[in-house]
C-alpha cells in the first residue's frame, strides 16, 4: 500500500481522510460515551443517509452535480438540532429522541433513494465506506471539519468535561446552554467527515469502540482521550491497509480491528493490567464500602 500511497492521489486522499476520522471520531466519542449518548451517533448517521439520498436525488433533477456530502452535513445538523429539541420535549423519556430521529432519517433516505431510482455504486460507498471515493473537494471538507472539531474540543475542554461529568452541577454553575447545541452540531460534523471512509452504517463504531476499549485501562479523562485516539488511528490505518490488500470496503475492516482491540483490552483488564482496577464500566448507583 505504501507504493500505492506514493503513486495514486485517491489513495492519498483516503488515507489522509482516514487519519482525520481516526482522530476526531474517538475524540468527540469520549464525550458521547460518558454522557451515555452512544446511540446519538447511530441516529445522526441515519439522518446523514437521508441527506445523501436527497443530494443524489437533487443531482438527478438538475444538470449539475450536488456533492451529497454537503446535503448529508446539512441533514445531520438539522437532525442534531431535532434530537436536542426532542430531548427537551420528552424531559423524562429523553432517549425517545433517538429512535424518532433515526426512523425519520431512514424514511427520508428510502423515499429519496426510490425517487433517485435506487442504489448505485457511489451510494454503496457511502453506506460501507470506500477507499477510492474521496475526492479533492471531499478531502478539503473533511480536513476543515477536522480543524473545527479539534479547535472546539481544545477551546471548550473544561466546559465539555463539566457538562459530561455532572450536568446538574454545570446548570447550577450557569455553564452556557449553547454548549449543548454546539456539541451536538460538532457530533453531526464528525459523522459527516468520517462516513466517507468508514461508511454510514459503521461510523458510530469509530466513535464508540475505541472509547469502550480505552475505558477498560485508563484512570483519567485525558488518558482516555489520548488512548481512544491511539486505538482509533490503529484501527483506521490497519483497516485501510487490509481493505486495500483484500479489495474490500474499509468500513468493515476498520470496525473489525476496533473489535479486536476491544477484546485485547478486556483480556488485559482481566489479567489485571489496568490503571483503574476495571472500575470504569461499573453500573451507576452501585456503592462501595
Amino acid at each position: 500500500m505504501i507504493e500505492a500511497l506514493l503513486d495514486y492521489e485517491f489513495i492519498r486522499y483516503s488515507f489522509i481522510s482516514g487519519i482525520v476520522a481516526g482522530l476526531i471520531a474517538p475524540l468527540i466519542g469520549t464525550f458521547i460515551v460518558i454522557r451515555r449518548l452512544s446511540l446519538i451517533a447511530d441516529a445522526l448517521s441515519h439522518v446523514t443517509l437521508g441527506g445523501i439520498a436527497f443530494g443524489v436525488y437533487l443531482s438527478t433533477l438538475f444538470t449539475f452535480t450536488i456533492n451529497p456530502l454537503i446535503t448529508g452535513i446539512i441533514f445531520s445538523i438539522l437532525g442534531a438540532l431535532g434530537i436536542e429539541r426532542l430531548r427537551s420535549v420528552y424531559k423524562h423519556y429523553q432517549e425517545l429522541a433517538i429512535p424518532i430521529i433515526m426512523s425519520l432519517g431512514i424514511a427520508v433516505g428510502i423515499v429519496f433513494l426510490s425517487l433517485a431510482n435506487g442504489f448505485n455504486q457511489d451510494l454503496f460507498g457511502y453506506l460501507f465506506g470506500s477507499i477510492s471515493a474521496v475526492s479533492m473537494n471531499d478531502l478539503i471538507l473533511i480536513v476543515s471539519i477536522g480543524i473545527i472539531v479539534i479547535l472546539f474540543i481544545f477551546l471548550l475542554y473544561k466546559e465539555l468535561f463539566m457538562v459530561s461529568f455532572d450536568e446538574e452541577y454545570a446548570n447550577v454553575m450557569n455553564v452556557n446552554r449553547w454548549i449543548y447545541i454546539a456539541f451536538i452540531i460538532v457530533v453531526a460534523l464528525v459523522i459527516s467527515a468520517s462516513m466517507r471512509i468508514v461508511g454510514i452504517l459503521m461510523v458510530s463504531a469509530l466513535m464508540t469502540l475505541p472509547v469502550a476499549s480505552a475505558m477498560r485501562i485508563t484512570s483519567s479523562f485525558k488518558q482516555l482521550m489520548i488512548l481512544s485516539v491511539i486505538f482509533g488511528e490503529t484501527a483506521v490505518i490497519s483497516g485501510l491497509f487490509l481493505s486495500y490488500h483484500l479489495n474490500i470496503s474499509p468500513g468493515g475492516t476498520i470496525v473489525l480491528v476496533s473489535i479486536l482491540i476491544l477484546m485485547g483490552t478486556i483480556i488485559l483488564n482481566k489479567l489485571g493490567v489496568s490503571r483503574n482496577g476495571g472500575r470504569n464500566e461499573e453500573v451507576p448507583g452501585q456503592t462501595q464500602g
Binding site: M162, D166, Y169, M173, V175, S219, S220, L224
Partner: protein, 260 residues
C-alpha cells in the same frame, strides 16, 4: 450587626404540569447570616431541594424574592461565591473515567471563563484544597476507585476550589457510613472556622443538632427556625406536625447523639 447572606422573602413555588399543580413551598421567610451553619431538615417531598434550587437560581421564584448578598436571585449567577454539593454527585462518580484532580478542577470552570485553560496558579489552588481535606494522596486516583467518604470529600473539594464564601450541600451524606459521616462533619466545622456560610439539607437530625448553629424545619411551610438548642427542646407535638406523623427527639447523653 450580622450581615445577611441569604434573605428569603415570602417565597412560594408550585410545580405545574398539564395534569396537576403540586405546591412545594408556601410563604417561606428565612434569613441566614454570614458564617452561619444552618441545617435545613424536613420529611421527603417537603420542598428542601426546591428551596435550594431557588436559591441557586436553577428555578425562578413564582412569588416572593430571594436575595443573595443583597442581589436578587433572578439576576444572580452562581459560580464564584457559591460552592454546591448535590445529593446525586456520588452517583455521577461511579464508573466515570476521570481522576480526582480532573473532577476537582472542574469546579473552577465558571470562574476561569470560556476559552481559558487552567494555569499553575489553579493547580496550586487544587493542591491547597486537596490538602485541606486530607485527600492530597488521592489526586491521581480514578474517582470510581474511591470509597463513599473519599468521594464525598472530592465533591466538597470541587465546591471549595473556587474559594466560595457560601457552601450549599443537598443531602451530601446519603449512602455514606457513620464513620465517614463523622469525618464529613469535621470538614464542615473546619470550614465554619474559616467563616464559610453553610446551608446543609439533611435527614441526619441526630448529627445536625450537635454540629449546626441553627436548624430550619420545612414541610411546605417553614415550621421552625431557631438555634440547635431550641430545636432539641421541640416537643413531640411540634415535631409530629412538621413530619406529619408521631415522633419525638430522643437524646442519648452518653454519646451526645440525638435521633428520631
Amino acid at each position: 450587626m450580622a450581615e445577611p447572606v441569604f434573605e428569603i422573602k415570602d417565597i412560594s413555588y408550585t410545580y405545574k404540569d398539564k395534569l396537576e399543580h403540586t405546591p412545594a413551598l408556601k410563604n417561606i421567610n428565612l434569613k441566614i447570616d454570614k458564617g452561619d451553619f444552618v441545617a435545613l431538615v424536613g420529611p421527603n417531598g417537603s420542598g428542601k431541594t426546591t428551596l435550594i434550587k431557588l436559591i441557586l437560581g436553577v428555578l425562578k421564584p413564582q412569588q416572593g424574592e430571594i436575595y443573595i448578598n443583597g442581589q436578587s436571585s433572578r439576576r444572580y449567577k452562581a459560580g464564584q461565591e457559591i460552592g454546591y454539593v448535590s445529593q446525586k454527585s456520588n452517583s455521577f462518580a461511579k464508573g466515570f473515567p476521570a481522576s480526582v484532580s480532573e473532577v476537582v478542577m472542574s469546579g473552577l470552570t465558571k470562574q476561569k471563563g470560556l476559552f481559558k485553560r487552567f494555569t499553575k496558579k489553579d493547580r496550586d489552588r487544587l493542591d491547597e484544597v486537596l490538602g485541606m481535606l486530607d485527600i492530597g494522596h488521592l489526586k491521581d486516583k480514578n474517582i470510581s476507585s474511591l470509597s463513599g467518604g473519599q468521594t464525598q470529600r472530592v465533591f466538597i473539594a470541587r465546591a471549595l476550589v473556587n474559594d466560595p464564601s457560601i457552601l450549599v450541600l443537598d443531602e451530601p451524606t446519603v449512602g455514606i457510613d457513620n464513620r465517614h459521616v463523622k469525618e464529613f462533619y469535621e470538614v464542615l466545622l473546619k470550614l465554619k472556622e474559616r467563616s464559610v456560610t453553610i446551608l446543609l439539607v439533611t435527614h441526619d437530625i441526630g448529627v445536625v443538632v450537635d454540629n449546626a448553629d441553627e436548624v430550619a424545619c420545612l414541610n411546605e411551610h417553614l415550621h421552625f427556625h431557631g438555634t440547635n438548642h431550641e430545636f432539641k427542646n421541640l416537643g413531640e407535638a411540634e415535631l409530629s406536625k412538621i413530619y406529619g406523623f408521631p415522633l419525638q427527639l430522643v437524646s442519648h447523653d452518653h454519646d451526645r447523639e440525638c435521633c428520631i
